[in-house]
Symmetry: C2
Subunit: 321 residues, 2 copies
Amino acid sequence: MHTSLVAALDIGGTKIAGALVDLSGTLLVRAQRPTPAREGGDTVMRAVEAVLAELTASPLWAGVMAVGIGSAGPVDASTGTVSPVNVPGWRGFPLVARVSRKVGGLPVELVGDGVAMTAAEHWQGAARGYDNALCMVVSTGVGGGLVLNGALHTGPTGNAGHIGHISVDLDGDLCPCGARGCVERIASGPNIARRALEGGWVPGPDGDTSAAAVAAAARAGNPVAAASFERAAQALAAGIAATATLVEIDIAVIGGGVAGAGEVLFAPLRRALRDYATLSFVQRLTVAPALTGTDAGLVGAAAAATLAGHGGRPTVFSGRS
Amino acid sequence: MHTSLVAALDIGGTKIAGALVDLSGTLLVRAQRPTPAREGGDTVMRAVEAVLAELTASPLWAGVMAVGIGSAGPVDASTGTVSPVNVPGWRGFPLVARVSRKVGGLPVELVGDGVAMTAAEHWQGAARGYDNALCMVVSTGVGGGLVLNGALHTGPTGNAGHIGHISVDLDGDLCPCGARGCVERIASGPNIARRALEGGWVPGPDGDTSAAAVAAAARAGNPVAAASFERAAQALAAGIAATATLVEIDIAVIGGGVAGAGEVLFAPLRRALRDYATLSFVQRLTVAPALTGTDAGLVGAAAAATLAGHGGRPTVFSGRS
Protein backbone atom coordinates (compact mmCIF):
# COMPACT_ATOMS: atom_id res chain seq x y z
CA MET A 1 0.00 0.00 0.00
CA HIS A 2 1.51 3.35 -1.10
CA THR A 3 0.77 6.19 1.25
CA SER A 4 3.36 8.73 0.07
CA LEU A 5 2.93 9.46 -3.62
CA VAL A 6 3.23 12.54 -5.79
CA ALA A 7 1.22 13.31 -8.90
CA ALA A 8 3.43 14.69 -11.67
CA LEU A 9 2.49 16.57 -14.83
CA ASP A 10 4.89 17.22 -17.71
CA ILE A 11 3.42 19.77 -20.11
CA GLY A 12 5.10 20.29 -23.46
CA GLY A 13 4.19 21.54 -26.90
CA THR A 14 3.65 18.00 -28.22
CA LYS A 15 2.24 15.99 -25.33
CA ILE A 16 0.83 16.30 -21.85
CA ALA A 17 2.06 13.45 -19.65
CA GLY A 18 1.03 12.57 -16.12
CA ALA A 19 2.04 9.96 -13.56
CA LEU A 20 1.77 8.89 -9.95
CA VAL A 21 5.33 8.63 -8.62
CA ASP A 22 6.54 6.87 -5.47
CA LEU A 23 9.41 7.70 -3.12
CA SER A 24 11.93 5.82 -5.21
CA GLY A 25 10.99 7.77 -8.35
CA THR A 26 9.12 4.86 -9.92
CA LEU A 27 6.20 5.78 -12.17
CA LEU A 28 3.25 3.64 -10.97
CA VAL A 29 0.39 4.99 -13.06
CA ARG A 30 0.73 6.86 -16.34
CA ALA A 31 -1.58 8.93 -18.51
CA GLN A 32 -0.95 10.94 -21.66
CA ARG A 33 -2.72 13.13 -24.23
CA PRO A 34 -1.44 15.00 -27.29
CA THR A 35 -1.20 18.77 -26.68
CA PRO A 36 -3.79 20.57 -28.83
CA ALA A 37 -1.19 23.32 -29.09
CA ARG A 38 -2.95 25.33 -31.82
CA GLU A 39 -6.34 25.35 -30.03
CA GLY A 40 -7.69 27.81 -27.50
CA GLY A 41 -6.56 27.84 -23.90
CA ASP A 42 -9.61 25.99 -22.55
CA THR A 43 -9.18 23.17 -25.07
CA VAL A 44 -5.58 22.72 -23.95
CA MET A 45 -6.74 22.72 -20.33
CA ARG A 46 -9.30 20.00 -21.09
CA ALA A 47 -6.42 17.77 -22.24
CA VAL A 48 -4.69 18.40 -18.91
CA GLU A 49 -7.93 17.59 -17.10
CA ALA A 50 -8.29 14.34 -19.05
CA VAL A 51 -4.83 13.29 -17.88
CA LEU A 52 -5.68 14.29 -14.29
CA ALA A 53 -8.97 12.38 -14.47
CA GLU A 54 -7.12 9.17 -15.32
CA LEU A 55 -4.76 9.71 -12.39
CA THR A 56 -7.44 10.59 -9.85
CA ALA A 57 -9.44 7.52 -10.92
CA SER A 58 -6.60 5.26 -9.78
CA PRO A 59 -7.04 3.50 -6.42
CA LEU A 60 -3.52 4.78 -5.64
CA TRP A 61 -4.70 8.43 -5.76
CA ALA A 62 -5.58 8.25 -2.04
CA GLY A 63 -1.83 8.23 -1.27
CA VAL A 64 -1.06 11.41 -3.21
CA MET A 65 0.29 14.23 -1.02
CA ALA A 66 1.19 16.86 -3.62
CA VAL A 67 1.14 17.71 -7.31
CA GLY A 68 4.24 18.78 -9.24
CA ILE A 69 4.02 20.44 -12.66
CA GLY A 70 6.91 20.89 -15.04
CA SER A 71 5.84 23.07 -17.96
CA ALA A 72 7.33 24.43 -21.14
CA GLY A 73 8.29 28.02 -20.37
CA PRO A 74 8.19 30.74 -19.60
CA VAL A 75 6.33 29.95 -16.42
CA ASP A 76 5.65 32.20 -13.44
CA ALA A 77 5.73 30.23 -10.24
CA SER A 78 5.04 33.38 -8.22
CA THR A 79 1.59 33.77 -9.86
CA GLY A 80 1.01 30.12 -10.83
CA THR A 81 0.70 31.01 -14.51
CA VAL A 82 2.29 29.68 -17.71
CA SER A 83 2.94 31.14 -21.17
CA PRO A 84 4.58 28.34 -23.20
CA VAL A 85 6.09 29.71 -26.42
CA ASN A 86 4.64 26.79 -28.41
CA VAL A 87 1.13 26.99 -26.91
CA PRO A 88 -0.17 30.40 -28.01
CA GLY A 89 -3.57 29.83 -26.37
CA TRP A 90 -1.91 29.99 -22.97
CA ARG A 91 -0.62 33.45 -22.13
CA GLY A 92 -0.51 34.08 -18.41
CA PHE A 93 -2.76 31.02 -18.10
CA PRO A 94 -3.65 30.26 -14.43
CA LEU A 95 -2.56 26.62 -14.61
CA VAL A 96 -1.91 26.16 -10.88
CA ALA A 97 -5.38 27.44 -9.92
CA ARG A 98 -7.06 25.29 -12.57
CA VAL A 99 -5.17 22.16 -11.48
CA SER A 100 -5.79 22.90 -7.78
CA ARG A 101 -9.53 22.94 -8.47
CA LYS A 102 -9.30 19.36 -9.78
CA VAL A 103 -7.18 17.93 -6.97
CA GLY A 104 -9.11 19.01 -3.90
CA GLY A 105 -6.68 21.47 -2.38
CA LEU A 106 -3.49 19.40 -2.50
CA PRO A 107 -0.37 21.59 -2.70
CA VAL A 108 0.58 22.26 -6.34
CA GLU A 109 4.16 23.21 -7.28
CA LEU A 110 5.03 24.70 -10.68
CA VAL A 111 8.49 24.83 -12.28
CA GLY A 112 9.82 25.26 -15.81
CA ASP A 113 10.66 22.10 -17.74
CA GLY A 114 14.39 22.83 -17.61
CA VAL A 115 14.21 23.04 -13.83
CA ALA A 116 12.22 19.79 -13.72
CA MET A 117 14.80 17.96 -15.86
CA THR A 118 17.50 19.28 -13.54
CA ALA A 119 15.67 17.99 -10.47
CA ALA A 120 15.53 14.55 -12.10
CA GLU A 121 19.23 14.53 -13.05
CA HIS A 122 20.23 15.70 -9.56
CA TRP A 123 18.07 13.04 -7.92
CA GLN A 124 18.75 10.06 -10.15
CA GLY A 125 21.08 11.05 -13.00
CA ALA A 126 24.52 12.34 -13.90
CA ALA A 127 24.33 15.30 -11.46
CA ARG A 128 23.70 13.04 -8.47
CA GLY A 129 26.12 13.86 -5.66
CA TYR A 130 27.08 17.25 -7.14
CA ASP A 131 26.26 20.32 -5.05
CA ASN A 132 26.68 22.72 -7.97
CA ALA A 133 25.51 21.67 -11.43
CA LEU A 134 24.04 22.93 -14.68
CA CYS A 135 21.69 20.52 -16.46
CA MET A 136 20.66 21.21 -20.04
CA VAL A 137 18.34 19.88 -22.71
CA VAL A 138 19.61 20.45 -26.26
CA SER A 139 16.83 19.58 -28.65
CA THR A 140 14.37 21.65 -30.72
CA GLY A 141 15.25 24.34 -28.20
CA VAL A 142 17.91 24.67 -25.52
CA GLY A 143 16.77 24.72 -21.87
CA GLY A 144 18.31 24.13 -18.52
CA GLY A 145 18.34 24.40 -14.77
CA LEU A 146 20.74 24.87 -11.87
CA VAL A 147 21.67 23.12 -8.66
CA LEU A 148 23.48 25.52 -6.30
CA ASN A 149 24.75 24.74 -2.80
CA GLY A 150 23.16 21.30 -3.03
CA ALA A 151 19.66 22.55 -3.81
CA LEU A 152 17.60 23.20 -6.92
CA HIS A 153 17.83 26.92 -7.77
CA THR A 154 14.46 27.74 -9.30
CA GLY A 155 14.52 31.52 -9.03
CA PRO A 156 11.48 33.48 -7.80
CA THR A 157 9.46 32.68 -10.94
CA GLY A 158 10.71 29.10 -11.53
CA ASN A 159 12.65 30.00 -14.69
CA ALA A 160 16.28 30.04 -13.57
CA GLY A 161 18.76 28.17 -15.77
CA HIS A 162 17.42 29.43 -19.12
CA ILE A 163 20.83 29.00 -20.77
CA GLY A 164 19.32 28.76 -24.26
CA HIS A 165 18.59 32.47 -24.22
CA ILE A 166 21.83 33.98 -23.04
CA SER A 167 23.69 35.80 -25.80
CA VAL A 168 27.16 34.50 -26.60
CA ASP A 169 27.38 36.51 -29.85
CA LEU A 170 26.10 40.00 -29.12
CA ASP A 171 26.16 41.05 -32.81
CA GLY A 172 24.90 37.66 -34.02
CA ASP A 173 21.74 36.44 -35.71
CA LEU A 174 18.39 37.59 -34.37
CA CYS A 175 16.76 34.99 -32.11
CA PRO A 176 12.96 34.51 -31.99
CA CYS A 177 13.17 35.72 -28.35
CA GLY A 178 14.19 39.16 -29.62
CA ALA A 179 17.86 39.08 -28.60
CA ARG A 180 20.87 38.26 -30.80
CA GLY A 181 23.28 35.33 -30.82
CA CYS A 182 21.53 33.26 -28.14
CA VAL A 183 22.96 29.81 -27.39
CA GLU A 184 19.75 28.25 -28.76
CA ARG A 185 20.04 30.27 -32.00
CA ILE A 186 23.37 28.54 -32.67
CA ALA A 187 23.19 25.15 -30.91
CA SER A 188 19.62 23.82 -31.20
CA GLY A 189 18.91 20.85 -33.47
CA PRO A 190 17.13 22.88 -36.18
CA ASN A 191 19.98 25.42 -36.24
CA ILE A 192 22.60 22.65 -36.55
CA ALA A 193 20.66 21.27 -39.53
CA ARG A 194 20.09 24.73 -41.09
CA ARG A 195 23.80 25.59 -40.88
CA ALA A 196 24.82 22.24 -42.43
CA LEU A 197 22.38 22.73 -45.32
CA GLU A 198 23.54 26.33 -45.86
CA GLY A 199 27.14 25.05 -45.93
CA GLY A 200 26.33 22.64 -48.75
CA TRP A 201 25.61 19.42 -46.87
CA VAL A 202 23.28 17.21 -48.94
CA PRO A 203 20.97 14.85 -47.02
CA GLY A 204 20.79 11.16 -47.90
CA PRO A 205 18.21 9.49 -50.17
CA ASP A 206 15.68 9.41 -47.32
CA GLY A 207 15.68 13.22 -47.29
CA ASP A 208 16.24 13.33 -43.53
CA THR A 209 17.45 16.83 -42.62
CA SER A 210 17.34 16.39 -38.85
CA ALA A 211 20.29 17.11 -36.55
CA ALA A 212 20.56 13.32 -36.10
CA ALA A 213 21.11 12.97 -39.86
CA VAL A 214 23.76 15.71 -39.71
CA ALA A 215 25.41 13.80 -36.85
CA ALA A 216 25.44 10.60 -38.91
CA ALA A 217 27.05 12.48 -41.81
CA ALA A 218 29.67 13.96 -39.46
CA ARG A 219 30.43 10.50 -38.12
CA ALA A 220 30.86 9.31 -41.72
CA GLY A 221 33.46 12.03 -42.30
CA ASN A 222 31.45 14.90 -43.85
CA PRO A 223 33.39 18.07 -42.90
CA VAL A 224 30.46 20.48 -43.31
CA ALA A 225 28.32 18.36 -40.99
CA ALA A 226 31.16 18.14 -38.48
CA ALA A 227 31.72 21.91 -38.67
CA SER A 228 28.07 22.59 -37.87
CA PHE A 229 28.33 20.50 -34.69
CA GLU A 230 31.63 22.21 -33.85
CA ARG A 231 29.95 25.62 -34.05
CA ALA A 232 27.10 24.38 -31.83
CA ALA A 233 29.68 23.00 -29.39
CA GLN A 234 31.47 26.36 -29.34
CA ALA A 235 28.25 28.20 -28.42
CA LEU A 236 27.38 25.60 -25.77
CA ALA A 237 30.91 25.87 -24.35
CA ALA A 238 30.69 29.67 -24.14
CA GLY A 239 27.33 29.39 -22.37
CA ILE A 240 28.47 26.66 -19.99
CA ALA A 241 31.68 28.56 -19.20
CA ALA A 242 29.65 31.73 -18.57
CA THR A 243 27.45 29.83 -16.14
CA ALA A 244 30.43 28.32 -14.32
CA THR A 245 32.14 31.72 -14.13
CA LEU A 246 28.99 33.34 -12.74
CA VAL A 247 27.83 30.80 -10.16
CA GLU A 248 30.59 28.12 -9.88
CA ILE A 249 29.40 24.72 -11.07
CA ASP A 250 31.34 21.43 -11.04
CA ILE A 251 29.49 19.61 -13.81
CA ALA A 252 27.40 20.38 -16.88
CA VAL A 253 24.97 17.60 -17.79
CA ILE A 254 23.58 17.59 -21.33
CA GLY A 255 20.51 15.69 -22.46
CA GLY A 256 17.99 15.98 -25.27
CA GLY A 257 18.02 14.70 -28.83
CA VAL A 258 21.11 16.63 -29.94
CA ALA A 259 23.14 15.09 -27.07
CA GLY A 260 22.37 11.76 -28.78
CA ALA A 261 25.03 12.74 -31.33
CA GLY A 262 27.54 11.56 -28.71
CA GLU A 263 31.19 12.33 -29.40
CA VAL A 264 30.26 14.29 -32.55
CA LEU A 265 29.05 16.90 -30.04
CA PHE A 266 30.96 16.08 -26.85
CA ALA A 267 34.49 15.93 -28.32
CA PRO A 268 34.44 19.48 -29.78
CA LEU A 269 32.51 20.64 -26.70
CA ARG A 270 35.30 19.52 -24.36
CA ARG A 271 37.88 21.19 -26.60
CA ALA A 272 35.92 24.46 -26.77
CA LEU A 273 35.42 24.47 -23.00
CA ARG A 274 39.18 24.73 -22.60
CA ASP A 275 39.03 27.91 -24.72
CA TYR A 276 36.26 29.59 -22.70
CA ALA A 277 36.47 28.16 -19.16
CA THR A 278 39.81 29.81 -18.45
CA LEU A 279 39.77 31.09 -14.85
CA SER A 280 41.35 28.78 -12.28
CA PHE A 281 38.10 28.05 -10.45
CA VAL A 282 36.27 26.80 -13.57
CA GLN A 283 39.04 24.74 -15.17
CA ARG A 284 38.03 21.51 -13.41
CA LEU A 285 34.50 21.67 -14.83
CA THR A 286 33.40 18.40 -16.41
CA VAL A 287 30.72 17.64 -19.00
CA ALA A 288 28.58 14.50 -19.01
CA PRO A 289 25.59 13.15 -20.94
CA ALA A 290 22.28 13.06 -19.08
CA LEU A 291 21.24 9.69 -17.63
CA THR A 292 17.50 10.18 -17.18
CA GLY A 293 15.46 9.58 -20.31
CA THR A 294 12.06 10.55 -21.60
CA ASP A 295 10.55 10.30 -18.12
CA ALA A 296 12.88 13.00 -16.75
CA GLY A 297 10.12 15.61 -16.94
CA LEU A 298 7.74 13.53 -14.83
CA VAL A 299 10.40 12.40 -12.34
CA GLY A 300 11.64 15.97 -12.00
CA ALA A 301 8.14 17.42 -11.58
CA ALA A 302 7.59 14.87 -8.81
CA ALA A 303 10.83 15.92 -7.12
CA ALA A 304 9.92 19.60 -7.50
CA ALA A 305 6.55 18.95 -5.84
CA THR A 306 8.35 18.28 -2.59
CA LEU A 307 10.48 21.44 -2.62
CA ALA A 308 7.94 24.10 -1.66
CA GLY A 309 8.71 25.68 1.65
CA HIS A 310 11.90 23.71 2.21
CA GLY A 311 14.47 26.05 0.72
CA GLY A 312 14.82 23.98 -2.43
CA ARG A 313 15.83 20.83 -0.56
CA PRO A 314 13.54 17.88 -1.27
CA THR A 315 12.08 16.42 1.90
CA VAL A 316 10.07 13.47 0.68
CA PHE A 317 12.95 12.27 -1.42
CA SER A 318 15.75 13.41 0.85
CA GLY A 319 16.98 9.90 1.53
CA ARG A 320 17.70 9.43 -2.15
CA SER A 321 18.93 12.81 -3.29
CA MET B 1 33.02 49.98 24.82
CA HIS B 2 32.79 47.89 21.65
CA THR B 3 32.62 44.18 22.25
CA SER B 4 31.45 42.99 18.83
CA LEU B 5 33.84 44.10 16.13
CA VAL B 6 35.21 42.57 12.94
CA ALA B 7 38.65 43.14 11.46
CA ALA B 8 38.47 43.67 7.70
CA LEU B 9 41.21 43.48 5.07
CA ASP B 10 40.81 44.73 1.49
CA ILE B 11 43.70 43.51 -0.66
CA GLY B 12 44.13 44.98 -4.12
CA GLY B 13 46.89 45.46 -6.63
CA THR B 14 47.49 49.06 -5.50
CA LYS B 15 46.85 49.12 -1.76
CA ILE B 16 46.23 46.91 1.23
CA ALA B 17 43.62 48.46 3.51
CA GLY B 18 42.47 47.30 6.92
CA ALA B 19 39.89 48.42 9.46
CA LEU B 20 38.07 47.51 12.63
CA VAL B 21 34.36 47.64 11.83
CA ASP B 22 31.42 47.78 14.23
CA LEU B 23 27.91 46.35 13.95
CA SER B 24 26.62 49.38 12.09
CA GLY B 25 29.35 49.10 9.46
CA THR B 26 31.29 52.08 10.79
CA LEU B 27 35.07 51.96 10.32
CA LEU B 28 36.56 52.74 13.74
CA VAL B 29 40.28 52.19 13.14
CA ARG B 30 41.99 52.28 9.76
CA ALA B 31 45.38 51.21 8.46
CA GLN B 32 46.83 51.14 4.95
CA ARG B 33 49.98 50.27 3.01
CA PRO B 34 50.81 50.37 -0.70
CA THR B 35 50.86 46.90 -2.26
CA PRO B 36 54.44 46.02 -3.27
CA ALA B 37 52.82 44.20 -6.19
CA ARG B 38 56.04 43.57 -8.14
CA GLU B 39 57.91 42.13 -5.14
CA GLY B 40 58.10 38.56 -3.89
CA GLY B 41 55.25 36.93 -2.01
CA ASP B 42 56.82 37.36 1.44
CA THR B 43 57.35 41.08 0.87
CA VAL B 44 53.68 41.46 -0.01
CA MET B 45 52.75 39.50 3.09
CA ARG B 46 54.88 41.81 5.26
CA ALA B 47 52.74 44.73 4.05
CA VAL B 48 49.62 42.81 5.13
CA GLU B 49 51.26 42.10 8.49
CA ALA B 50 52.10 45.79 8.93
CA VAL B 51 48.41 46.65 8.44
CA LEU B 52 47.40 43.89 10.86
CA ALA B 53 49.96 45.10 13.42
CA GLU B 54 48.36 48.56 13.45
CA LEU B 55 44.94 47.03 13.97
CA THR B 56 45.98 44.59 16.70
CA ALA B 57 47.75 47.44 18.52
CA SER B 58 44.42 49.25 18.94
CA PRO B 59 42.76 49.01 22.37
CA LEU B 60 39.59 48.08 20.44
CA TRP B 61 41.19 44.84 19.16
CA ALA B 62 39.95 43.02 22.28
CA GLY B 63 36.42 43.25 20.86
CA VAL B 64 37.27 41.59 17.53
CA MET B 65 35.41 38.31 16.92
CA ALA B 66 36.42 37.48 13.36
CA VAL B 67 38.54 38.58 10.40
CA GLY B 68 37.13 39.11 6.91
CA ILE B 69 39.37 39.33 3.85
CA GLY B 70 38.27 40.59 0.45
CA SER B 71 41.04 40.00 -2.09
CA ALA B 72 41.66 40.64 -5.74
CA GLY B 73 41.03 37.35 -7.49
CA PRO B 74 41.11 34.62 -8.26
CA VAL B 75 40.86 33.43 -4.69
CA ASP B 76 40.20 29.92 -3.41
CA ALA B 77 38.16 30.04 -0.24
CA SER B 78 38.14 26.24 -0.05
CA THR B 79 41.93 26.16 0.44
CA GLY B 80 42.37 29.68 1.87
CA THR B 81 44.72 30.69 -0.94
CA VAL B 82 44.87 33.66 -3.32
CA SER B 83 46.40 34.22 -6.78
CA PRO B 84 45.66 37.88 -7.65
CA VAL B 85 46.29 38.55 -11.35
CA ASN B 86 48.12 41.79 -10.52
CA VAL B 87 50.29 40.35 -7.72
CA PRO B 88 52.47 37.77 -9.50
CA GLY B 89 54.38 36.91 -6.30
CA TRP B 90 51.20 35.37 -4.90
CA ARG B 91 50.20 32.19 -6.71
CA GLY B 92 48.25 29.83 -4.50
CA PHE B 93 49.50 31.94 -1.59
CA PRO B 94 48.19 30.63 1.79
CA LEU B 95 46.82 33.99 2.90
CA VAL B 96 44.25 32.64 5.36
CA ALA B 97 46.84 30.53 7.22
CA ARG B 98 49.32 33.44 7.34
CA VAL B 99 46.69 35.86 8.65
CA SER B 100 45.38 33.29 11.14
CA ARG B 101 48.86 33.02 12.62
CA LYS B 102 48.82 36.76 13.37
CA VAL B 103 45.34 36.92 14.93
CA GLY B 104 45.53 34.16 17.50
CA GLY B 105 43.07 31.70 16.06
CA LEU B 106 40.15 34.04 15.33
CA PRO B 107 37.97 32.75 12.46
CA VAL B 108 39.19 34.13 9.11
CA GLU B 109 36.82 34.35 6.12
CA LEU B 110 38.12 34.90 2.58
CA VAL B 111 36.08 36.10 -0.43
CA GLY B 112 36.90 37.67 -3.78
CA ASP B 113 36.75 41.46 -4.01
CA GLY B 114 33.65 41.35 -6.23
CA VAL B 115 31.86 39.26 -3.62
CA ALA B 116 32.98 41.69 -0.89
CA MET B 117 31.66 44.71 -2.81
CA THR B 118 28.38 42.85 -3.28
CA ALA B 119 28.12 42.15 0.44
CA ALA B 120 28.57 45.88 1.08
CA GLU B 121 25.96 46.93 -1.49
CA HIS B 122 23.48 44.37 -0.19
CA TRP B 123 24.01 45.49 3.40
CA GLN B 124 24.16 49.25 2.97
CA GLY B 125 23.85 50.17 -0.70
CA ALA B 126 21.63 50.04 -3.76
CA ALA B 127 20.97 46.28 -3.45
CA ARG B 128 19.60 46.62 0.07
CA GLY B 129 16.22 44.91 0.34
CA TYR B 130 16.70 42.88 -2.86
CA ASP B 131 16.76 39.10 -2.49
CA ASN B 132 18.29 38.56 -5.93
CA ALA B 133 20.92 40.99 -7.20
CA LEU B 134 24.05 41.31 -9.30
CA CYS B 135 26.58 43.89 -8.11
CA MET B 136 29.42 44.92 -10.40
CA VAL B 137 32.55 47.03 -10.37
CA VAL B 138 33.43 48.48 -13.79
CA SER B 139 36.86 50.01 -13.56
CA THR B 140 40.34 48.86 -14.73
CA GLY B 141 38.69 45.45 -14.77
CA VAL B 142 35.12 44.25 -14.47
CA GLY B 143 34.18 42.24 -11.37
CA GLY B 144 31.03 41.30 -9.57
CA GLY B 145 29.10 39.23 -7.10
CA LEU B 146 25.64 37.75 -6.60
CA VAL B 147 22.91 37.79 -3.99
CA LEU B 148 20.53 34.85 -4.49
CA ASN B 149 17.51 33.99 -2.34
CA GLY B 150 18.42 36.79 0.05
CA ALA B 151 21.96 35.56 0.71
CA LEU B 152 25.41 36.25 -0.69
CA HIS B 153 26.24 33.52 -3.24
CA THR B 154 29.99 33.06 -2.94
CA GLY B 155 30.37 29.69 -4.65
CA PRO B 156 32.57 26.94 -3.18
CA THR B 157 35.80 28.87 -3.90
CA GLY B 158 34.51 32.41 -3.21
CA ASN B 159 34.69 33.52 -6.85
CA ALA B 160 31.05 33.49 -8.00
CA GLY B 161 29.84 36.55 -9.89
CA HIS B 162 32.92 36.92 -12.13
CA ILE B 163 30.85 38.64 -14.85
CA GLY B 164 33.92 40.34 -16.36
CA HIS B 165 35.08 37.04 -17.80
CA ILE B 166 31.97 35.66 -19.41
CA SER B 167 32.14 35.75 -23.20
CA VAL B 168 29.44 37.78 -24.94
CA ASP B 169 31.27 37.70 -28.29
CA LEU B 170 32.50 34.16 -28.85
CA ASP B 171 34.52 35.11 -31.97
CA GLY B 172 35.70 38.41 -30.46
CA ASP B 173 39.05 39.82 -29.37
CA LEU B 174 41.33 37.65 -27.26
CA CYS B 175 41.12 38.51 -23.56
CA PRO B 176 44.17 38.27 -21.24
CA CYS B 177 42.28 35.48 -19.43
CA GLY B 178 42.60 33.32 -22.56
CA ALA B 179 38.98 33.44 -23.72
CA ARG B 180 37.49 35.70 -26.40
CA GLY B 181 35.02 38.58 -26.24
CA CYS B 182 34.77 38.76 -22.43
CA VAL B 183 32.65 41.56 -20.95
CA GLU B 184 35.82 43.08 -19.46
CA ARG B 185 37.58 42.99 -22.85
CA ILE B 186 34.87 45.31 -24.20
CA ALA B 187 33.59 47.30 -21.21
CA SER B 188 36.52 48.05 -18.89
CA GLY B 189 37.85 51.61 -18.63
CA PRO B 190 41.08 50.93 -20.56
CA ASN B 191 39.11 49.23 -23.35
CA ILE B 192 36.66 52.16 -23.57
CA ALA B 193 39.63 54.51 -23.95
CA ARG B 194 41.44 52.26 -26.43
CA ARG B 195 38.36 51.98 -28.65
CA ALA B 196 37.80 55.75 -28.61
CA LEU B 197 41.43 56.40 -29.58
CA GLU B 198 41.30 53.76 -32.33
CA GLY B 199 38.12 55.44 -33.64
CA GLY B 200 39.89 58.76 -33.97
CA TRP B 201 39.02 60.50 -30.70
CA VAL B 202 41.71 63.05 -29.83
CA PRO B 203 42.28 63.76 -26.12
CA GLY B 204 42.32 67.34 -24.83
CA PRO B 205 45.41 69.47 -24.24
CA ASP B 206 46.04 67.75 -20.89
CA GLY B 207 46.61 64.48 -22.77
CA ASP B 208 44.20 62.60 -20.48
CA THR B 209 43.24 59.35 -22.21
CA SER B 210 41.29 57.84 -19.31
CA ALA B 211 37.74 56.55 -19.61
CA ALA B 212 36.69 59.60 -17.57
CA ALA B 213 38.14 61.84 -20.29
CA VAL B 214 36.26 59.84 -22.94
CA ALA B 215 33.09 60.30 -20.87
CA ALA B 216 33.66 64.06 -20.73
CA ALA B 217 34.11 64.13 -24.52
CA ALA B 218 30.92 62.10 -24.99
CA ARG B 219 29.06 64.51 -22.73
CA ALA B 220 30.38 67.38 -24.87
CA GLY B 221 28.93 65.73 -27.99
CA ASN B 222 31.86 63.76 -29.44
CA PRO B 223 30.23 60.88 -31.37
CA VAL B 224 33.27 58.56 -31.31
CA ALA B 225 33.53 58.90 -27.53
CA ALA B 226 29.80 58.27 -27.16
CA ALA B 227 30.00 55.23 -29.46
CA SER B 228 32.75 53.69 -27.33
CA PHE B 229 30.56 53.96 -24.23
CA GLU B 230 27.60 52.57 -26.20
CA ARG B 231 29.64 49.50 -27.16
CA ALA B 232 30.67 49.03 -23.51
CA ALA B 233 27.03 49.40 -22.50
CA GLN B 234 26.02 46.77 -25.05
CA ALA B 235 28.51 44.25 -23.64
CA LEU B 236 27.46 45.03 -20.06
CA ALA B 237 23.80 44.64 -21.06
CA ALA B 238 24.46 41.25 -22.69
CA GLY B 239 26.31 40.11 -19.56
CA ILE B 240 23.69 41.43 -17.15
CA ALA B 241 20.87 39.91 -19.23
CA ALA B 242 22.73 36.56 -19.31
CA THR B 243 23.02 36.65 -15.53
CA ALA B 244 19.33 37.49 -15.08
CA THR B 245 18.32 34.76 -17.53
CA LEU B 246 20.48 32.20 -15.72
CA VAL B 247 19.72 32.91 -12.06
CA GLU B 248 16.84 35.49 -11.97
CA ILE B 249 17.94 38.81 -10.50
CA ASP B 250 15.81 41.90 -9.87
CA ILE B 251 18.53 44.54 -9.90
CA ALA B 252 22.00 45.08 -11.32
CA VAL B 253 24.09 47.54 -9.31
CA ILE B 254 27.10 49.10 -11.03
CA GLY B 255 29.96 50.83 -9.26
CA GLY B 256 33.58 51.58 -10.04
CA GLY B 257 35.22 54.44 -11.89
CA VAL B 258 33.51 53.80 -15.23
CA ALA B 259 30.09 54.01 -13.55
CA GLY B 260 31.10 57.58 -12.67
CA ALA B 261 30.35 58.42 -16.30
CA GLY B 262 26.71 58.51 -15.22
CA GLU B 263 24.14 58.76 -18.00
CA VAL B 264 26.86 58.51 -20.68
CA LEU B 265 26.96 54.86 -19.59
CA PHE B 266 23.57 54.26 -17.98
CA ALA B 267 21.35 55.64 -20.76
CA PRO B 268 22.70 53.32 -23.50
CA LEU B 269 22.89 50.50 -20.94
CA ARG B 270 19.16 50.74 -20.21
CA ARG B 271 18.42 50.82 -23.96
CA ALA B 272 20.65 47.80 -24.66
CA LEU B 273 19.10 45.85 -21.79
CA ARG B 274 15.77 46.02 -23.61
CA ASP B 275 17.50 44.32 -26.57
CA TYR B 276 19.03 41.46 -24.56
CA ALA B 277 16.77 40.95 -21.52
CA THR B 278 13.86 39.70 -23.58
CA LEU B 279 12.22 36.82 -21.71
CA SER B 280 9.18 37.74 -19.61
CA PHE B 281 10.83 36.98 -16.27
CA VAL B 282 13.80 39.31 -16.86
CA GLN B 283 12.01 42.30 -18.39
CA ARG B 284 11.46 44.03 -15.04
CA LEU B 285 15.17 44.04 -14.24
CA THR B 286 16.43 47.46 -13.14
CA VAL B 287 19.90 48.98 -13.17
CA ALA B 288 21.22 51.35 -10.50
CA PRO B 289 24.52 53.00 -9.60
CA ALA B 290 26.31 51.65 -6.53
CA LEU B 291 25.93 53.65 -3.31
CA THR B 292 28.91 52.44 -1.29
CA GLY B 293 32.17 54.18 -2.10
CA THR B 294 35.84 53.48 -1.69
CA ASP B 295 35.23 51.74 1.65
CA ALA B 296 32.98 49.10 0.03
CA GLY B 297 35.80 46.54 0.05
CA LEU B 298 36.34 46.91 3.80
CA VAL B 299 32.66 47.06 4.69
CA GLY B 300 31.98 44.02 2.50
CA ALA B 301 34.90 42.04 3.91
CA ALA B 302 33.53 42.77 7.38
CA ALA B 303 30.08 41.53 6.33
CA ALA B 304 31.59 38.43 4.72
CA ALA B 305 33.44 37.63 7.97
CA THR B 306 30.11 36.95 9.61
CA LEU B 307 28.85 34.56 6.90
CA ALA B 308 30.87 31.42 7.58
CA GLY B 309 28.71 28.55 8.71
CA HIS B 310 25.47 30.46 8.38
CA GLY B 311 24.45 29.60 4.83
CA GLY B 312 25.50 32.98 3.53
CA ARG B 313 23.19 34.91 5.84
CA PRO B 314 25.04 37.42 8.01
CA THR B 315 24.36 36.88 11.70
CA VAL B 316 26.28 39.67 13.39
CA PHE B 317 24.77 42.23 11.05
CA SER B 318 21.40 40.60 10.61
CA GLY B 319 19.51 43.50 12.17
CA ARG B 320 20.77 45.79 9.43
CA SER B 321 20.83 43.61 6.35
